[in-house]
């Protein structure tokens, strides 16, 4: 039946076959036949400069403390994990979304999405002087503290594993039609030694 149709519709058959070849070639060019399994992100130590879509980040250090950088008091037997980051905003507008770019993989609650697992910081704030919220402006690098609250009992920590999350700039989101930084993806993982500064009364 098919061979009969092909023999009677010669040029349509050639056209369809050509279109199929072109479609396969476009799909191949766009990476449609690449291995679908995401590759594990590279792992670095402190001080590595990472460039995501929105940020240039240099994660400097991590510490557990009971003295919050902005002066808040930790709950009894609780503490804060404070991660120091040097951040530069690469976009064309001020942004306060830095805490979304870091996930703590050893956190107590985990996201369901496997590539983005981890816990975002409860808060990010600028250093010098400490202030609530961390709006980072384009062209003005800032030192930012990203803070996770640790509820008692606080387990001893010698190192933390953080995942740096990037996002792509989408000119027209297919759901809402708005532009924005969407489609998060893992950029790298960082393993940082943790200093225990509890009891010193000094914020990191």
């Amino acid at each position: 039946m098919l061979s009969e149709w092909i023999s009677t519709h010669r040029w349509q058959s050639w056209l369809l076959a050509s279109l199929a070849v072109i479609a396969v070639a476009i799909a191949w060019r766009m990476g449609g036949f690449r291995e679908a399994r995401p590759q594990a992100p590279p792992v670095y130590g402190p001080g590595k400069t990472l460039v995501t879509g929105e940020w240039t980040l240099q994660v400097l250090s991590a510490a557990i403390t009971d003295a919050h950088p902005a002066g808040l008091r930790a709950p009894p037997d609780g503490a804060f994990l404070v991660v120091e980051v040097r951040a530069e905003n690469r976009t064309d507008r001020s942004s306060n979304t830095l805490s979304n770019a870091l996930r703590w993989l050893d956190g107590t609650s985990a996201d369901k999405e496997p590539v983005l697992q981890g816990e975002t910081g409860d808060q990010a704030l600028l250093r010098a002087p400490p202030s609530f919220g961390a709006t980072v402006h384009p062209g003005i690098p800032e030192r930012v503290a990203v803070i996770w609250k640790l509820t008692p009992p606080v387990k001893p920590l010698t190192s933390v594993r953080l995942r740096v999350i990037g996002r792509e700039f989408i000119r027209r989101d297919s759901l809402t039609g708005h532009r924005g930084w969407l489609r998060p993806y893992p950029v790298a993982e960082l393993v940082l030694p943790v200093q225990d500064r509890r009891g010193t009364g000094v914020a990191p």
Binding site: S131, T135, G139, G177, R179
Partner: protein, 201 residues
Amino acid sequence: MNAGWPHRLVDALLLVAGLAAMVWMGRHLPNTTENQAPFAIRGKMDEAVRARTFVARVERVELARTLVVPGLLSTQPPKRIETGGVWVLVHARIDPLREAVSPAGARLRSRGGVSYTADDSRVDLRYRLNGGEVMPGEVGRGVLLFEVPPRRIAGASLLLREAKYAGELDSELEIDLGLTEARVQEMLRAMPDALALRRTP
């Protein structure tokens, strides 16, 4: 080929043209953010510029390397607030027309289109105009504080809108601050190292 091939060729060309038009439209038609963008109303320094719900006037612009803000209590020492760029202080006045107005969405936009939101975390609410609401019948007079790299100050304009609706399909004032290259250089030379913020009367 049969006798209808010219028609088929035309059909095929129309199909290709239609697909090309779809791709072009997908790339060039405005997205939802652009479709719902606020309507720009342009004005200048020292002019009363009228938006849908308020009238604004920019009175003067100052630059400073460091701000000095009094402590929360009289016993506390003043706080010095540094920036990696330059503080741009825009002294403005806002008169609401019909309803309470909050200029929380104030931005400074550079000549190249980079926008800087008014500071909302470093400086106490008592010393800045953005953050609170101005009621009808009141005059909201105060300073909008921006942190901007020095190279992006010349040619910058102030964008001011009512925060309640995030500016979508509403009016947004675009006020030219008169910051020419020569004036900015002069202001940077004369800029005080530290500027004390005073509470708005």
